[in-house]
């Protein structure tokens, strides 16, 4: 969700970005928003079986790190 394809990336890339999601029984990363509060978007690492949340990062920080790496 953080890696938005360019306008000319083509159908496959856009389909993947918009529609295709892994649905693992286990650890997965999700985007949450603190909707009733400050409005922050968060990258939450959660186990879909146990519901245990093992990591929470600000989405803006994650995105900045992605931008710096590319």
């Amino acid at each position: 969700m953080l890696a938005r394809p360019g306008p000319d990336a083509g159908e496959v890339a856009w389909d993947n970005y918009l529609h295709l999601r892994d649905n693992p029984a286990g650890v997965t990363e999700e985007l949450w928003q603190h909707d009733g509060g400050c409005g922050s978007w968060l990258v939450v690492t959660r186990d879909t079986v146990s519901h245990v949340i093992s990591k929470v990062e600000m989405a803006a920080d994650v995105k900045r790190a992605m931008q710096a790496a590319s």
Binding site: P7, A9, W14, L18, Q33, W41, H51, K63, R64, Q67
Partner: protein, 978 residues
Amino acid sequence: MRVASKGLIDRSKPVHFSFDGRTYRGFAGDTVASALLANGVTLMGRSFKYHRPRGVMTAGSEEPNALITTGTGARREPNVRATVQEIYDGLVTRSQNAWPSLDVDVMAVNDLAAPFLGAGFYYKTFMWPKRFWEAIYEPVIRKTAGLGALSGESNPDTYERAYAFCDLLVIGAGPTGLMAALTAARAGADVILVDEDSVMGGRLNAESEAVGHQSGALWAAGIVAELAAMDNVRLMPRTTVTGAYDGGMFGALERVNQHTSKRGGGAPLEAFWRISAKHSILAAGALERPVAFQNNDRPGIMTAGAVRAYLNRWGVAPGRRVAVFGNNDDAHRTARDLMAAGVHVVALIDSRAEAEIEGFDGQVITGAVVCNTGGRKALESITVRSEAGEEALQVDCLAVSGGWNPTVHLTCYMNGRPTWREDIQSFVPPPGAIPNMTVAGACNGVFSTHGCLSDGVDAGTAALKALGKKAVAVEVPVAEDADYALVPLWAVAGKGRAWLDFQNDVSVKDIKQAAVENFRSVEHMKRYTTQGMATDQGKNSNVAALAILADATGRGMPETGTTTFRPPYSPVAIAAMGAGAQGHGFAPERHTTSHKRTVERGAPMIEAGLWYRPSYFPKAGETTWRQSCDREVGYVRKAVGVCDVSTLGKIDIQGPDAGKLLDFVYTNMFSTLKVGRVRYGLMLREDGMVMDDGTTARLGEHHFVMTTTTAAAGNVMRHLEFVTQCLHPEWAVSFTSVTEQWAQFAVAGPKARELLNGLLDKEIDNDNWPFMACGDVSIGGVAGRLFRISFSGEHAYEVAVPSRFGAALFDELVKRAEALGGGPYGMEALNVLRIEKGFITHAEIEGRATASDVGMGRMISVKKDCIGKAMAARPGLVDAERPQLIGLKPVSAEGEMTAGAHLFEREAEAVRVNAKGHVSSVGYSPELGRMIGLGFFAAGPTRMGEVVRLVDHLRGVETEVEICHPVFVDPEGERARG
């Protein structure tokens, strides 16, 4: 009958209450069940399906039979367990599920028809014919089956939602829970101890065994007193933990005033708690299970542990001639306690031939079972079967024990599956089922008092370790430490009906029948027979039902497994869970600054999200809303109208990259917009569908104000937050919602400027304030903003002031409008005005429309990327045959049109597959003198002037309509610019 010198009741405090219209006397400390038993009342209810007479079976919240209705009128509360409800002076209770009375219930005829009403009866009988279901079967079933009924009146009682936090939550205050709480509390942990009973101590209050050198009840009271005196402990009696959730969160229901006559005022009847705990200890104990045998449901038959509880805790002998029947040593206690209290024990019957009975010198029959009973509304006799044959015994009470089931429910609420333990013939919680929860005592299969006390200390110590606190040594007092010896006995072989689920009338035969019909999975068996589906959720009967299913299917218990337990553990009133949400509490209300004045003018208010907006402003002499609406449309078209538009979302956007953000979220260009100008923008979702539309004004080089529709304000805000945090955190831009900060009014009509110029500190004209201009203005010295925009197609403005001036400005605008032959207008007129101009709202952009569907395909700029641009270009979304925005008008001036109607070709049959489009908005246009509408039609723009058929199957409307251009009034847009 009361037994002298027994029980924890206060005999100096008599309490009077009524049951089925008769007044009874009990004592403080009694439940309805104990007080009725003390008065010799054993018939307390009728079963769900067969209306069989039923008495109390247990002494706790698991009770399946003794369900009563408390209170009267609007305060009537059905399905209250007589075993839980404490009595107070003036308490009114009634039996349920019997007509005309508990004593003479004509529906008991169902019992005679029982051969036809077995497992799967509903599914088999009422399948055909289909229309009979609604007309006959369901009403009849609802009338004859079912439990208590609500009053149908609004609930006048107060409920509360409450929150608590702790280091350690201890669930259950029996020997295990008390020791666990004590261990943790003495070490300084912040402890909450919860128990569903009014008196803490659990089974210690129901048994005669000593703990240390005193009675168990006294010992428990001493520990409770020590805990109560500690600052770091909160005791919550009368509170049931109903669920375990993620992150150490628990739900709990506190029956705050159910045991008093206090109603209303500040005191809540019940409180629903969310308790957040770093660690928890489940010490929920165990529930005794009965044995199934023919006619095992007569009033007077109860669990052996319940008989001891009534005797030891409430000083009540549930019968004069009692027999005890069990498959385990624990049942022997009942015979011993009764004998010691001077109650005649007719016989102690143990199914085990080798059973050794100590401390009881009455008649003992080993290797025998109870195989049938006699009596109708009360137990009169039992039949005992042994090798010697069958023998009838005259008894009025039978205490039965089939063993104990650990109360594992809470540990199963997060996918945990309990594991079978052969030695205790029951299920125990799987380890680690709930994060940070320790399971201890009887609910973990530890059944001796001493075992529970020391398990409590161990659990408390383990919790302290997990919390990083140092334990202090706690001494475990001396207590009974007997082995729990039992041989499984689920059902006694025999011909008649042997009951398992008393509340839902499920018999052993029903379970076997389900297996025969191949409902072999526990989940299928449960639904087919309704085993465990009543309000008690089969707490006494599920394990036995599983054992019988296992036997019938030739599988073991581990393989058979259990059904899925789900919260709540015991019933919770919706009123408690949703406390505060009745009436106006259901949803917050957002009022505009003109709300008061609008309501004073008699305007009916309509909800728009959480906002309240006027539908129209009625005037004397008008009898229909249409008259008001037409008049208000006339204000705007001919003079000037005033409308509060503050509900539109307003987002203040600032920063050097504000233009970049707008270019990215709108399809069209905003970075090129000049300061002091406004532009209409269209916003897409990333999938290419239209998300919202609105105008954005540029107030400064780095300063914009975006408006959104009322409905989408929240969505747009979230969307902007997503874009600026997840996609472009590098942009230097900030924004915040200012919807509440600005009151904004539309001033629309040919006399709009005339009105404003009387009010503005500096006059405007068409040159310094042309169409789509914006800027700061001063209104009587108040700094405001003026936007020349139009949602009606007329010469119009929106004027904004800080909210605190809104009410005053509205009054002033309305007064001046009225002086000019205009006035305020509401949503109905606003809707007609915008339909006449073909302006879209969320009736058109309802999530399935693309930009080209609404005729704005060319608004997607080719010069830049934007959200939704790539996906909007998908072939399916630009297909020329897609339904596209059109105007509609009836061929005949009287023709009716309805929003939601479907559109068909003139000759086509009006069936779904032939639908070519639909009507999205309609209104009556005074200017055209007929109804007009907006809608979508396949390749609509190529069909101008053609006549199609409008059909509304729901409201029975069929009209010939002409497809036309969606702008009905002033298509050149001259008026807005004038």
